[in-house]
Subunit: 411 residues, 2 copies
């Protein structure tokens, strides 16, 4: 069983966007044991799309298309495929209803071309779109199987993970169970992590261990195959235990979690509220925290104290601290954390101050970050970090370090 | 003149990395007027690479390869191409010397397989690698032209920008100038925008007009070609004027800008400071604003007023407003905007309150958003929005609407 992914969209060929969809789908297919031999990108052009289809049909069993399912004139993937394989396009009632609901909700008139999005290949399994309008679909012909997915990643990714993957497992009668698990690490580099567990990586093929570094984190993806799901899981458990023996102190969570989600869960579990004073991060920690549904149980609010004036008058930093040590100092971070904790009557205060860059601040080079933590019945502390990279890398990484430090303090 | 980009590397097909090289090269080619009709990705497999080459030779004039030029066993792009087109591989003296220099510099012994990297196709123009070892090359045969570039983006990008692009301009004797411009719109859907200007899209091919929807915004990319750059620009001006007549009220900026950047520039230009009170957006507006270097000139800080208690005690919303109208109300948005403006001594106050979801709040469905604006010498106002989508879509879209509303108010 081998697959090819065809992305349709002139914006890809013009270099306006990157084909992240092919990467996402390929990683999922690798997990479930389907070999991907080709990615193709073709523009919004029916003739060239048809030619790419013919090439793909001759060399691949499964062809997955992304893009070109929208309402506009240059969205023509569905129509081109329908014509090529001789399938009719029929309106899908569920899809049409959800498009109509969308327009009612936003109180905008639904234009005629939006109905086009509800058309599906006759006989296809329809994949619901929980984050947009155009549904996906899967259709098997005598020789090939076709899956059509929308182009925007925020629609495509959940559709493929939640529906497309299962349809493929069913349709292809994959009986071997594939279990995978992602272990997430923070505070260790990819090269170091790999060095620490190189004997494990080299000595076995089931489960496989695949390291990946992204956004300052390192993940290990473990994938085990076995006719019995139980057995596959226990293979994962065994290798996880061996990995933890070596690098467990950097581990923070499984699969799709994140540092902020783990922090939220910890605060919820311990019934603690948190308040935040943010200088260089400018609200990012609080924005991340409130991106989680239910945040109001552990968070009342905080202050973005970008100027020194706000640090003094609204959070309670002493003027002499700023005069003597400056805003980029451990003392300032400590007073911000204590001040915000008191002002917002929370159990925990956390603060972020420092030099995000591109310029130095008060003589401190960009990337100098202080995280302040104030906890009940303990003296407030500051943690100093040096974070490399651009202004926004420094800010985002500072927020992750803040979560990581607080998680450790709460152990 | 049309081109195809073939990326060679099994790590792309396994979903371990994204093919950013194709985007980078495509954007440069679009600028110099070479049409890219296909991207292909193929693994480190000589047979499949050869088949991809044959397909590319039949449909594309120029074939650009990335990847597979390194020292290891599975780097086989050069060897496969040499065999396929019947060209000899010869050692390039400059390349060999720079590889030897590299090993002297890092004080490591040069292994035999590293010499392989200095081999180039006989007769090719050699492209120096200023950030790595493997040189690139360009070779023209009777029918096709071939360019080989290394895979790592930090080697490939400068090589292509500094050497590859000029070689192509020379070799292809390109005299026509290409000008492009992106117009950015907010507050109108892609289908509606296209409907409004469909006659323009249909009636002309120079400039071309390409709509693209991303993150609640719609862009139109205009591309004009003419032997004279002046003329190409004036073609863009003409069609831009016609577009603006129809949908100008939704236009907010050109090319790579964003709503928050436009707002920042406007505040800077008018020398106005802003303070912010955020409930449902939880700090996102302030985080976005402070992602811009120089934000301190127009922003002192603000409050994340997630709980009602913080709204009353730290921003100055009247308790009776919350009792009577609730937190998801125009009155609350107005008092938040006025309150934060006064407390933080800024010229402008902006506020965000509402129901982000997934649950309704105070009987208001998810997506109900109120943006409050308080300006000097004007009565504060609130704007009510209904934003569809997930919790985080609602929050992110609310921030964009806030920028858009304030930009309009400041006109």
């Amino acid at each position: 069983m081998n697959a090819e992914i065809i992305a349709v969209g002139s914006e890809l060929l013009l270099g306006q966007i990157v084909n992240t969809n092919a990467k996402f789908i390929s990683a999922v297919l690798a997990d479930i044991g389907i070999n991907v031999y080709y990615h193709t990108v073709v523009g919004d052009n029916p003739l060239r799309l048809k030619e790419c289809m013919e090439i793909a049909e001759s060399r691949s069993d499964l062809i997955i298309f992304t893009g070109g399912l929208g309402p506009t004139k240059d969205d023509l993937t569905k129509e081109t495929i329908a014509k090529h394989i001789g399938a009719a396009l029929v309106s899908d009632e569920d899809a049409l209803r959800s498009i109509e609901d969308y327009f009612k909700k936003v109180d905008r008139p639904m234009t005629e071309n939006n109905k086009k999005q509800a058309l599906v290949l006759k006989g296809a399994v329809v994949l619901p779109n929980d984050h947009g309008m155009a549904p996906g679909m899967y259709l098997k012909s005598d020789k090939n199987a076709y899956m059509l997915l929308p182009g925007p990643p925020k629609e495509m990714e959940p559709m493929f993970s939640n529906y497309g993957r299962d349809v493929l497992l069913d349709a292809l009668e994959i009986h071997e169970k594939i279990e995978s698990r992602v272990l997430r690490f923070f505070g260790i580099g990819e090269a170091q992590l790999e060095t620490d567990i190189i004997d494990l990586i080299d000595s076995q093929s089931n489960p496989t261990i695949a390291p990946l570094a992204t956004d300052g984190e390192v993940t290990l993806r473990l994938t085990a195959k076995d006719p019995s799901a139980e057995k596959a899981k226990s293979l994962l458990d065994d290798v996880e235990m061996k990995i933890m023996e070596k690098v467990g102190k950097f581990f923070y969570g499984y699969d799709d979690t994140s540092l902020i989600v783990e922090l939220f869960k910890k605060l919820q579990e311990k019934k603690l509220t948190i308040a935040c004073a943010e200088s260089l991060t400018g609200g990012m920690f609080q924005s991340d925290l409130t991106s989680i549904s239910g945040a109001s149980a552990i968070f009342n609010g905080g202050i973005v104290c970008y100027s020194n004036d706000v640090k003094v008058h609204h959070v309670g930093v002493k003027q002499e601290t700023l005069d003597d040590a400056g805003a980029v100092s451990e003392q300032c971070a400590v007073e911000l954390a204590e001040g915000i904790r008191n002002k917002f009557a929370s159990e925990i205060g956390i603060s972020f101050t420092g030099a995000a860059g591109p310029e130095a601040l008060e003589g401190h080079p960009p990337g100098t970050v202080l995280v302040g933590i104030s906890l009940p019945n303990r003296e407030a502390k500051a943690f100093k970090l040096m974070i490399p990279g651009s202004r926004n890398n420094v800010r985002a990484r500072a927020v992750k370090y803040g979560c990581h430090i607080l998680l450790n303090e709460l152990q």
